[in-house]
């Protein structure tokens, strides 16, 4: 499904601020894989996701999605393969537009947009029932501006938008990090439900080790632009937070220095 070969990226090359964000990443995801990604700040997690999404071009290496080389494809063009939810709840939705309008734009991801009516009647009904599954009472607020929703509601809508048109790959960039703990766990439950119901291939970054262990069928840990731990199947199921910390120390040769990740 996703095949990354020797991906490298250095920001501000040739200056004192040069920072190697990705240092030769090799990663292959299979159909239906739900992979959680953990690592300290600056480990390269978001950089990896942004490289896949096409926010900028890598210095070296290739990215293939479903057999198509997207390494040099523009961000808006490769969007047809991808569903994305950002860390910032404000980033995934257009605040000055109605919920239905946001959804209708997402429903047409990857198709040529023409000069026909933007939202069909039947679509509104479909959106209503989809919004009802979020259990946030949004199904009656189709014409409501998204800017009036709370962060958690917006993130739930973004999740819906990312999956409305089945993506080949779902990219979740710490999408619950900016939410309060209760809302975060609700959005996470919702994520798990949508991913498992649709058998979506998913890459989810999280700061929370427990979440990383609880969700998905595979876990990768990054450090200094490299993947240092990659566990899946039975081994991942039996994983504990302590095991992860030991794995980290063994692989990187130092203590895991990130309170947020440990306590979470």
């Amino acid at each position: 499904m996703l095949k990354i070969t020797n991906l490298q990226k250095t920001f501000n090359p040739g200056t004192v601020n040069a920072k190697t964000a990705l240092n030769g990443i090799d990663l292959e995801l299979h159909d239906g894989d739900f992979v959680t990604v953990i690592g300290g700040n600056g480990a390269g997690k978001s950089t990896l996701l942004n490289a896949i999404a096409g926010v900028w071009k890598p210095d070296f290496g290739t990215i293939e999605i479903d057999g198509v080389d997207v390494t040099n494809m523009a961000e808006h063009k490769r969007a047809k393969f991808l569903g994305r939810v950002f860390q910032d709840p404000m980033k995934g939705t257009a605040p000055d537009m109605e919920i239905a309008e946001n959804l209708s734009i997402a429903a047409r991801r990857g198709t040529k947009r023409k000069l026909r009516w933007g939202i069909k009647k039947a679509e509104r009904e479909e959106y209503k029932s989809l919004l009802a599954t979020l259990e946030l009472g949004l199904e009656t607020r189709l014409s409501c501006k998204v800017g009036l929703l709370s962060g958690g509601q917006r993130q739930a809508v973004t999740l819906l938008m990312a999956t409305l048109k089945r993506p080949k790959l779902l990219l979740l960039d710490e999408h619950t990090a900016a939410l309060d703990p209760k809302t975060a766990s609700k959005v996470l439950e919702l994520t798990n439900k949508i991913v498992s119901e649709n058998k979506l291939t998913t890459l989810m970054i999280t700061h929370n080790m427990r979440d990383a262990i609880e969700y998905g069928n595979r876990l990768i840990m990054m450090n200094q632009g490299e993947i240092i731990v990659d566990v899946s199947g039975e081994e991942k199921k039996n994983l504990k937070v302590d095991d992860l910390l030991t794995l980290f120390t063994k692989a990187s040769g130092k203590e895991f220095a990130n309170d947020r990740a440990m306590l979470g």
């Binding site: 734009i105 047409r108 947009r113 000069l115």
Partner: protein, 301 residues
């Protein structure tokens, strides 16, 4: 009494500037770009229309070509901004400067071209204000209906989202750069259309037409939206509000002239109106947020 006499003229001119403000609304409010091209493109519209009229081209064709010329100026700014990476404000200023030369060459180096001798064929002129109001009103109605239909199509919605949230738009497969160029083309096309009407209304195209136009457009938008948003936050209502803002602006304008304000201060007046409308919401917010934080501290005790 003289104020009432001036009223039909103020309404006619206000409608023309209201149409111009619709163009500014598309760049400023929908695309979220303060596009300074308009100072030049309104003049381009006036020059193209006037010159073609003196060449004997049918007036509707002149107006259409003025629209297209204006759209092209928007494309230039859009390409400067998106393909060449020039900040949008600077891109607009550069195009505006380019247009000064272009407009001069359209006028064959003269600073003014009169279409006064062609008054009979013009679709509106200041000598017949009621008729001018009707003609401008019809054109504005057609423009608003077209925009309303367009902005609710699949494609039109992505134009809205481009300005509202470019990150979200890209993630949903929207070609943000193309949309910005197209949006600027539509915006400046409409601005040039109003320039074409202005040249006919005044009976001439002047190389200095349109200096400070962006400020008048913004003033019309702020005046209009301050009322229309209280009624309904809806695209068509907003556009009608913006046109209304243009009329109110010109009524005020004529009123202060009658009060004896020297004409050299008129541009300053437009700027002050815009400053006030931008500053008041900001100051309000600052004031209220301060009060809130004080309250919180008190509650904390």
């Amino acid at each position: 009494m003289s104020f009432l006499n001036a009223l039909p003229g103020a309404v006619a001119e206000g409608l023309i500037w209201g149409l111009m403000a619709i163009g500014v609304y598309i760049s400023y409010k929908i695309l979220d770009i303060a596009d300074l091209t308009v100072d030049g493109s309104i003049c381009t519209g006036a020059c193209v229309c006037a010159v073609l009229i003196t060449k004997g081209v049918p007036v509707p064709v002149c107006i259409l070509l003025a629209f297209i010329a204006g759209a092209l100026t928007g494309v230039v700014t859009g390409v400067f901004h998106t393909a060449l990476g020039i900040p949008s404000i600077l891109a607009g200023i550069l195009t505006q400067l380019i247009l000064y030369s272009v407009n001069l060459s359209i006028l064959s180096g003269k600073s003014l071209i009169s279409v006064y001798t062609y008054t009979d064929s013009l679709i509106l002129h200041m000598s017949d204000n009621p008729h001018a109001v009707l003609a401008a009103g019809i054109i504005i109605a057609v423009v608003i209906v077209c925009l309303w239909l367009f902005f609710y199509t699949e494609f039109g919605l992505t134009l809205k989202s481009t300005g509202d949230n470019p990150d979200m738009s890209r993630a949903q497969g929207v070609n943000v750069n193309f949309n910005k160029v197209l949006g600027l083309a539509i915006s400046n096309g409409i601005v040039a259309l109003s320039g074409a009407l202005l040249a006919q209304y005044k009976g001439s195209a002047n190389i200095n037409d349109g200096r400070g136009a962006i400020v008048i457009g913004l003033a019309a938008i702020f005046i209009g939206l301050s009322v229309s948003l209280k009624i309904k936050s809806n695209f068509v209502v907003s556009l009608i509000g913006v046109v209304g803002g243009g009329i109110v602006y010109y009524v005020i304008y004529n009123f202060v002239i009658l009060l004896g304000l020297k004409t050299e201060f008129l541009k300053m007046l437009s700027a002050i109106i815009v400053v006030l409308f931008l500053a008041i919401p900001y100051l309000k917010k600052e004031y209220f947020s301060k009060k809130k934080s004080i309250k919180k501290v008190e509650e904390g005790k």
